[in-house]
Assembly symmetry: C2
Homo-oligomer: 86 residues x 2
């Protein structure tokens, strides 16, 4: 079966206060990076998926995100790429 | 001054064991997502930068990453995009 390299982004929904982002923003301002604002921090996950096809790999990844990797109430996720490696 | 929307990825270096990734991998296998492996979890940061030019914005972001957002000993970072929004 072919293996696919996938990457996904998980971010807090826009409506939800990102406290980690706020903390980093304050720290940036304290270090004189005053031009930086609206900092939002999410997760970036890279993984390999062995599946029958690219469609099956993406489908499995979407299911895994909904069930485990992302919190569907507070977070949105995007599958950034899913390409065959072998 | 124009504002730029920037996005950056911060990942643990390949040589360093990603314990969070390993934990997610085990949990995926426990949920029967057995085809998923080599999970590596990093950070994804989105922010707005007010700067004179795109080059200045990227330069400031690179400096901020080295000084605060990434740990240069354990992590690599990539600036994924930096585009003008206003």
């Amino acid at each position: 079966m072919p293996t696919y390299r996938a990457a996904l982004r998980i971010q807090l929904r826009k409506q939800i206060l990102d406290v980690q982002g706020k903390a980093v923003e304050h720290a940036l301002h304290a270090l004189n990076f005053t031009g930086m604002h609206n900092v939002r921090i999410g997760k970036y996950v890279e993984l390999l998926i062995t599946a029958d096809s690219k469609v099956a790999a993406e489908e499995a990844l979407r299911k895994a995100c909904s069930q485990l990797m992302a919190n569907p109430i507070m977070e949105d996720f995007w599958i950034d790429c899913c390409e065959e490696v072998s």
